[in-house]
Amino acid sequence: MRIGIVLAWLGIPLMILTAALEPLARWIGGPGDAPFSEASTVAFLAATMTSFGYAYAAGAHVRLDVLSRRFPARLNAAIELAGTLLILLPLSALIVVDGVDSTWRSFEQGERWADTAWALQWVVRMWVPLGFALLMAAGLASALRAFLSLSRK
């Protein structure tokens, strides 16, 4: 949760700043807007991917609670536990593994950015596994909470 807030403080202002400089750079001329546009893409991806876990920990994700509102608390805790263990954690783990792999390959092959041709595409790719790793951490915490409330009589 702390990490999420810190990363949001880094990512969101950076995204706004670079995206705001983009048209200014183009209107003025000079070096052009490509570096700014790519930096703002990275900042957007970083801010968004890392926010998933933060929002999960804060309980901000949209749920359809028409029925579950009326479920007993223990049933909701059991659903939460099963959903986290059976869906969230294994699938996030798959995405993390695949994402690390794709980031590493991108780094090794020196994959380039489309506009500036800097070999930094891996900086873009790494936020997907990182974001889902944070989401796993948040998921683990909520599973633990659900487990504790279940084991309590």
């Binding site: 999420g4 807030i5 949001a8 403080w9 969101i12 202002p13 995204m15 706004i16 700043l17 670079t18 995206a19 705001a20 983009e22 048209p23 209107w27 546009s37 703002s40 893409t41 957007f44 991806l45 801010a47 968004t48 991917m49 926010s51 998933f52 933060y54 929002a55 999960y56 804060a58 901000a60 994700h61 949209v62 749920r63 359809l64 609670d65 028409v66 029925l67 579950s68 509102r69 479920f71 909701n76 659903i79 939460e80 959903g83 059976l86 869906i87 969230l88 699938l91 798959l94 995405i95 695949d98 994402g99 794709s102 489309a114 873009v124 790719r125 997907v128």
Partner: protein
């Protein structure tokens, strides 16, 4: 034949959503389960599963879809305007400008709804906020509880149809139009809607005289309007992309907050946290929905939709009416996020399969028309008794002080006005298509989407 699997997949999604787990988690879980089933039954090749990973990465980083960074930046602008008190200032400013006129306080509420709601992005947030500062003011001016509540619900829901609203981004995505085109398409229907709302406010008249507001609030209000108009103008004139314009508007909101003297660290921190939470909410479902639609297509969902489109009827209007009615009913039970991100792409594909909108000459223009209709129907749905959730928000914001039945009564006239606009746009597609066709070059279809 294989039509069973995509059908089952939709059914499984419907049932699993009711468990109360986060919608995005359910979407991804159902997708993987059915991708597995697809591999087992031989409908999906194992290599195609790899596309799922690519999709998660590609949905957000796709360089051709550079409109998405605009979403958190607009959310940030809205949150900041709210946290620095500029949004509340807006109401006071308008009340000063219109307060002396017949129907003035109502007109001020409508104007604020139209202007701040798109920035606040989420209908829930904007209606709640509007209820907090407009309801007491309206009642002070002698409006009845029912009239005031209906007015606030209607004004708060305007964010659904006003550019640069967040919902319109995803409606444009679903109907296959450029976001700026849909923004322009909404302007004429919105003007008609506002004219009807204002006319109604004037006819109803104001029960009492307004008290004057401080002069500084007028300046603050004008500043906020300038931000919104400037943003849309930059994009329409082709001077900046949507993301760039949104970033400039966000910087503008920061400067406005500083000039207003209310830009504190606390306000900034709250705005950043809200931005992170709201954009996580939107994009987590967006990622989940795009994985879902990928697997749905791999299983032959497109064929099922094409087959189902026949069942919607034939001709230009029957399928459209059926789709709009479905969206209207869904709006009672689901958030706009689920409707726009999950149901709308399927319905838009079905409409395209039956050739609705083709009479307008280009896919983009057809998409503008259909997108505008969808947006108006969704907004109407939020406002329609007994389930419309803008009504619950107003009821909730008063902590139950205004009974639900009174909120319903107050909202009814606005629902009637909504229907007038909906029928007008349906009968005269030019209301939606004329402006974007004048300003933008829409003869070229939007490039193949990443998801295709």
């Amino acid at each position: 034949m294989n039509l069973a699997l995509p059908g089952l997949m939709l059914l499984a999604l419907g049932v699993a959503l009711l468990l109360g787990l986060p919608v995005a988690v359910v979407l991804i879980g159902v997708s993987f389960a059915f991708a597995g089933l697809g591999v087992m039954t031989g409908t999906v090749r194992t290599e195609e599963i790899g596309a799922i990973f690519h999709r998660i990465y590609g949905t957000l980083s796709d360089r051709d879809e550079i409109v998405y960074p605009a979403v958190p930046m607009l959310l940030f602008m809205g949150a900041l305007l709210h946290e620095t008190g500029l949004a509340a200032n807006l109401l006071a400013g308008f009340a000063r400008m219109f307060g002396r006129l017949r129907g003035g306080p109502a007109a001020a509420t409508i104007a604020v709804g139209a202007i701040q709601a798109p920035a606040a992005g989420m209908i829930g947030a904007s209606t709640g906020a509007l209820a907090l500062y407009a309801l007491p003011a309206l009642k002070r001016h002698g409006y009845s509880s029912a009239d005031a509540a209906g007015l606030v619900a209607a004004a708060g829901s305007l964010g659904a149809v006003t550019p640069p609203g967040i919902m319109l981004f995803f409606v444009a995505d679903a109907t296959g139009v450029q976001v700026p085109a849909l923004f322009l398409a909404m302007l004429a229907p919105l003007a008609l809607l506002l004219a009807l709302y204002l006319l109604f406010a004037v006819v109803r008249g104001s029960p009492a005289r307004a008290e004057p507001a401080a002069a500084s609030s007028v300046a603050g209000a004008l500043l906020t309007i300038a931000l919104m108009v400037g943003l849309v103008a930059l994009v329409a004139l082709g001077l900046a992309t949507l993301s760039e314009a949104a970033a400039l508007a966000a910087v503008g909101a920061l400067l406005a907050g500083a000039a207003h003297g209310s830009l504190t660290w606390r306000a900034l921190d709250a705005a950043i946290r809200q931005t992170a939470l709201l954009s996580a909410m939107v994009f987590f479902i967006f990622v989940g929905a795009s994985v879902f639609s990928l697997v749905f297509r791999l299983l032959g969902g497109a064929e099922m939709v094409a087959a189902g489109a026949g069942a919607l009827g034939t001709g230009a209007y029957a399928p459209l009416a059926a789709a709009l009615l479905l969206v209207f009913v869904l709006g009672f039970f689901l958030d706009w996020l689920e409707i726009v991100l999950i149901a709308l792409p399927v319905l838009a594909a079905a409409l395209a399969a039956t050739g609705v909108g083709a009479q307008l000459g280009s896919a983009q223009l057809g998409g503008c028309w259909i997108g505008a209709l969808f947006a108006i129907v969704l907004q109407t749905s939020f406002l329609t008794p007994p389930f419309g959730y803008a009504l619950f928000l107003v009821h909730g914001a008063t902590r139950g002080e205004i009974p639900m039945t009174q909120v319903w009564r107050g909202a009814m006239p606005y629902v009637a006005l909504q229907l007038v606009v909906l029928l007008a746009v349906a009968a005269l597609p030019e209301l939606a298509t004329w402006l974007p066709a004048q300003v933008l070059d829409l003869s070229i279809p939007k490039g193949p989407k990443f998801s295709d």
